[in-house]
């Protein structure tokens, strides 16, 4: 099953709060985005946004220039419907992040919670990093969250790669200056806990 088919199936068969990564609000992500965005017109992309409510919270905070990308059109449709009229200013992209041609130097803030750890092949990770380096403005910020060293080894039936801050930063390279990293215990809707790692970098 290819990546798209897998995620279309997940998002068409499961309710938003019946997936392990669900959280009513992404507090850590939101705080980091608010810290890194120069102002409310900052251009922000949420990669693998799925049915996450981050876009709702960003709209609520007055951010005007938000892009949500997900490989699943079903997830995009669900988020757009949930937002209703508030979706009007949002750019929606249904595409594979390792293949899409995003506009050059388009974003001030790049956010990804739980996409990068699914990239188990070196070429996929290289394509992802190239994408970030190409489409984020220099001086822009990159927030990537993966499973931490004590996180799960699979998710949604797929293998994942776990990272500590050094290993994750190594994937991105020296142009990305690591400002801060933190670990978070995520409580899944099923009552279990998963360790997530957040890395917060500035693209020099």
């Amino acid at each position: 099953m290819d990546v798209r088919t897998h995620w279309e199936k997940i998002y068409t068969t499961k309710a938003p709060d019946q997936v392990s990564w669900y959280r009513p609000h992404l507090e850590t992500s939101l705080a980091l985005i608010k810290r890194s965005a120069p102002d409310r017109t900052a251009s922000i992309i949420d990669v693998g946004g799925g049915e996450s409510t981050l876009v709702d919270d960003l709209r609520e905070q007055g951010f005007e220039n938000i892009t949500v990308l997900d490989v699943s059109q079903a997830a995009i449709n669900a988020s757009r419907e949930r937002l209703g009229e508030r979706a009007a200013g949002v750019h929606w992209i249904a595409a594979d992040i390792t293949q899409v041609e995003l506009e050059r130097l388009a974003y001030d803030v790049w956010h990804d919670r739980a996409v990068f750890h699914f990239l188990t092949a070196h070429e996929q990770r290289a394509a992802y990093v190239r994408q970030v380096a190409r489409s984020v403005k220099s001086g822009g910020h990159v927030i990537v969250s993966t499973f931490g060293p004590e996180g799960p080894t699979t998710c949604s039936g797929l293998d994942v790669v776990r990272y500590d801050a050094d290993a994750l930063h190594d994937e991105f390279g020296a142009r990305f200056r690591l400002i801060e990293s933190s670990k978070e215990m995520h409580q899944t809707p099923f009552g279990t806990a998963q360790q997530f790692l957040y890395c917060y970098c500035r693209l020099e």
Binding site: Q73, I76, R80, E81, G84, E85, A87, A88, G89, V90, H91, W92, I93, A94, A95, D96, V100, E101, E103
Partner: protein
């Protein structure tokens, strides 16, 4: 008679200029810049118009066939193709009519702000399907039906009148559905409102294959 003659002049000279000017703003240029360079090989542009995409084609393009029923718009496009040093073969016809191209002969079909104005869109898409190679791509940038019911209601209400002043342009077409119903599989779909009045600016961008 006078009235009819004026309409003729409007359609022949003024309308192409209006289309040219209304299509050439900063935002649409940015969008063209993002998609047109992805075309390669033998390219078929549906509704090449005044050739606004021509500056953005890359070296990967071998030749371009440009479908454009209006000779006036074609003339503008021809000038642009000369500036760019590009070999464009113009097909003076509607995209609904049989294209004088063999089956499976095109690598990339480019269609930007065009499908709205083709009276029988499914018929045109059938032609595109016939000429596209199995490995080929249809790149599309089209405005169409908005997901917000309030905007869509305006689009339905405005379209019958708008069609007459806007060169046959329909505001309320659901582009993704038209493509999939015609047998295309959409690989990427970008949707958003571009700046401007919402009934006119909800935009579907992306590419599809057979």
């Amino acid at each position: 008679m006078r009235y009819i003659k004026d309409v003729g002049i409007y359609a022949k000279y003024a309308l192409p200029r209006i289309i040219e000017v209304s299509m050439r703003n900063r935002e649409t240029t940015r969008v063209r810049q993002n998609w047109v360079p992805q075309a390669h090989g033998d390219v078929l542009e549906i509704g090449i118009g005044s050739g606004l995409n021509l500056p953005f084609y890359s070296e990967e393009v071998r030749r371009i066939y440009g479908v454009e029923p209006s000779p006036e718009l074609q003339k503008l496009a021809r000038n642009r193709s000369v500036d760019k040093g590009m070999d464009v073969e113009f097909l003076t016809q509607s995209a609904e009519d049989p294209l004088p191209l063999p089956d499976q002969s095109i690598d990339t079909i480019v269609m930007t702000w065009t499908l709205c104005s083709i009276a029988d869109a499914p018929r045109a898409l059938r032609q595109m399907k016939r000429v596209l190679r199995p490995s080929g791509r249809l790149i599309f940038v089209e405005h169409g039906r908005a997901p917000d019911s309030s905007v869509a209601a305006w689009q339905d209400w405005l379209t019958p009148v708008w069609k007459h002043i806007g060169g046959g342009c329909h505001l309320n077409r659901k582009i993704d559905a038209l493509l999939t119903e015609a047998g295309f599989a959409i690989d990427e779909l970008w949707t958003t409102y571009l700046p401007g009045p919402r009934p006119m600016t909800y935009t579907y961008q992306g590419f599809a294959h057979l």
